[in-house]
Amino acid sequence: MDADTFDANIIKDSDRVIFQRKDWSKDGIVGHGKSLVISKLKTKTDDIVGLAYGTLVEWNKHAGKFERVEEGELEDDDFTADVEDGETGGDNRNLVDNSTAQSLTTGEITAMKAQGVKGKEIIDSLVQNSLTFETRQEYAKEKYIQKKKDKHVFRFRILRPTLRLVCEVYGCGKPQRINYLRLDTLAIMLSNSNIHAGSNVMVVDGVQGLLLAAAMERMGGRGKIVHVHPGPQPIIPAYEVFGFPEEWTRSIYHLSIDNLEVISPTVEILQNGVEPLEISEPPVKRRKLNDAQQESARFIKNHLMDSLMIASKHHPKTILLFLLPFLGLSRNFVVHSSFREPLVETFQAVRSSGRAVRVCLNETWLRLYQVLPSRTHPENNMSGSGGYLLSGTTVEKDSSFSDGASNETARNFD
């Protein structure tokens, strides 16, 4: 994809898109011959091409294709009941849970679907054939419809990937792959590191390329990103979801964490096929690297970074202390961990190093709300932790903070 069409509003062949349902989303490639398994259904995505981003589609099993659905027809947030306080219609005094209330059988529903009956009509039949529906509270009626909809209607909104949506995709299905880095936590990392277009940014990314993608989205291809990755090759599925223009991707320098030490001033990078000079004072270590890694290492050696973000499975202490000198002065760094203890240790080490001020450790907290007339309350389940963040601003190394010395005060706790 090139930069000119990156923001286009019409879905094209081979676009990476987000399939969004209420509380659930997935990414996938759409286009000719591209199939996608969603909720155990194998779907063909040919008919999504040419639609506008934001369109609602429903999988029609009979026709074997996605069909466009009009806005307003049986929508997820189409809660119509707007009752005065206390007047909630019926109640559950006559409700007996004996599984006889619904006269439509599973077989009949399956047959309807096979004939290509639309989701809305299936729900209408279910409501008509429910003996108890009319006796329910208005709220309970909505809940009933919502539950049936989740089960029988395969309806998605097709959206262009954004950082928010990709975080949702990982958050609802595979948070462990991104070290439980929550949306709000990533948002705070981006603010605290002051990443913006035209910067030199370094990310240590053990979260599938999500951090790299976050930096890229906020820089729009302007500036350079050094991507320190675990393993010999960068594996960045979260980055690939975005379909960033090729020319933006060229502004990334990948460097394996295994080779990280080569950026140290005491290491000389050997050019392939060139014999090293015999004499060097002081003696330096020499390392051989492939071309791409060499280029990355050279870039870091020759440029000071403006921002540093770390979210990795490695213990952050040694990595952060090693990388701090590669940041310019009065620049910002932020480190995420889903565990508190490594960051406590890192906090103390950074404070002792005398290389940073405004060193802070924070935990993030996020709570979602159901907002409905007379029924507003926090959601019943919430995220337990979005992880911990260590952040700070670089300053010239303060020699009075010799290693080990620290101005923390030990406190008796008895």
């Binding site: 509003n9 969004q20 506008a52 934001g54 369109t55 806005e71 929508e75 997820d76 947030d77 909104r157 928010r164 949306l183 709000d184 948002a187 705070i188 981006l190 603010s191 605290n192 002051n194 913006h196 277009a197 035209g198 030199n200 820089m219 729009g220 302007r222 310019g328 002065l329 009065s330 620049r331 508190r340 960051l343 406590v344 240790e345 906090f347 103390q348 001020v357 405004r358 450790l361 924070n362 935990e363 993030t364 907290w365 996020l366 709570r367 709300y369 907002v371 007339p373 507003t376 963040l389 601003t393 300053v395 010239e396 303060d398 923390e408 005060t409 030990a410 406190r411 008796n412 706790f413």
Partner: protein, 301 residues
């Protein structure tokens, strides 16, 4: 001087806005304006004459009479912490969430009402620059004038337009179908919803609203629904500060566990305690518990 890395110089120049870091709890934002009447910064470590800091390197110590301070480059986050208060301001977790939820990136065209103290405006400007734009509106004329001065001295003039306007009544002026995102920080956001819908791009956009009270949220959500906004989400986000300390506890050692209790008695070692130290992160007794509710929604064509 600039809030943008690309335009930054390594040393302080006349006209710069700088952040004077004094200690963990004290920072000052200072406009090093040699033409104005002010000629020095006054800190608890002594006065810092403007002339003496011109050419001083950012991020290095500046010695005062009774100690030293650090001179830092400004960022929207530092500005939020040091800015002159004109209204209640938005803080880091909410600002960060707004940038993320409104899908802001370089090139985004954003509407903000009201401007307030301009805390969020700085963060938006940083994120949408260089080719995006922020149109910010406030019905309080003095605030707008003050913020317009800041836009100029902070080098944001090419990215931000601040206007004195009543969004409830006049909406977003001539902005019709041009905005990617809108943020409402108003006492009655529901009055602005129809205007916001008109100002958003016809191909769709994002809307956010910040309100301290749940009653405001309920009215806003109802209005958003009535105007066809989808994916309406309300949330609260906070940051819990942790205080890192190395603590020491007395640890009771049971005498039975001692290998040689006779020796212990003979030597009159009466206290069966040893001391154990451990690094830990303490949650303060009192932490921020509520700033406001954030509501976000999408508008699709």
């Amino acid at each position: 001087m600039s809030f943008f890395n690309q335009n930054r110089k390594d040393t302080v120049a006349a006209g710069d806005v700088i952040i004077v870091y004094i200690d963990f709890t004290t920072m000052l934002a200072v406009h090093v304006d040699l033409s104005a009447g002010k000629t020095a910064i006054h800190t608890k470590y002594g006065a810092i004459p403007f002339q003496s800091i011109i050419g001083h390197r950012y991020g290095t110590k500046f010695r005062c009479k009774n100690g030293y301070v650090q001179l830092l480059q400004p960022t929207p986050e530092l500005w939020t912490k040091t800015m002159p208060f004109r209204t209640q301001i938005l803080y880091l977790p909410d600002i960060s969430m707004i940038l993320m939820q409104l899908d802001l990136k370089p090139g985004s065209v954003v509407g903000e009402s009201g401007t307030g103290s301009g805390s969020l405006s700085h963060a938006i400007a940083r994120t949408v620059a260089p080719h995006g734009h922020l149109f910010t509106f406030d019905y309080h004329e003095l605030r707008v004038l003050q913020f317009q001065k800041e836009i100029n001295s902070h080098g944001l003039a090419s990215v931000v337009t601040a206007q004195h306007s009543d969004v409830y009544k006049d909406g977003y002026g001539t902005l019709d179908g041009v905005l990617d995102a809108i943020l409402l920080d108003l006492p009655c956001p529901w009055f602005a919803v129809p205007h916001a819908k008109k100002a958003l791009k016809k191909s769709g956009g994002r809307l956010g609203s910040f309100s301290p009270c749940i009653e405001q949220v309920q009215r806003t959500c109802k209005e958003l629904k009535a105007h066809g906004f989808k994916d309406i989400v309300t949330l609260e986000c906070l940051m819990r500060p942790l205080e890192v300390k190395t603590l020491t506890m007395n640890c009771w050692i049971p005498t039975q566990a001692e290998a040689n209790t006779d020796e212990r008695r003979d030597n009159k070692l009466k206290t069966p305690f040893s001391q154990v130290s451990f690094p830990t992160a303490i949650v303060p007794w009192e932490v921020p518990g509520h700033s406001g509710f954030l509501t976000f929604a999408s508008f699709y064509s």
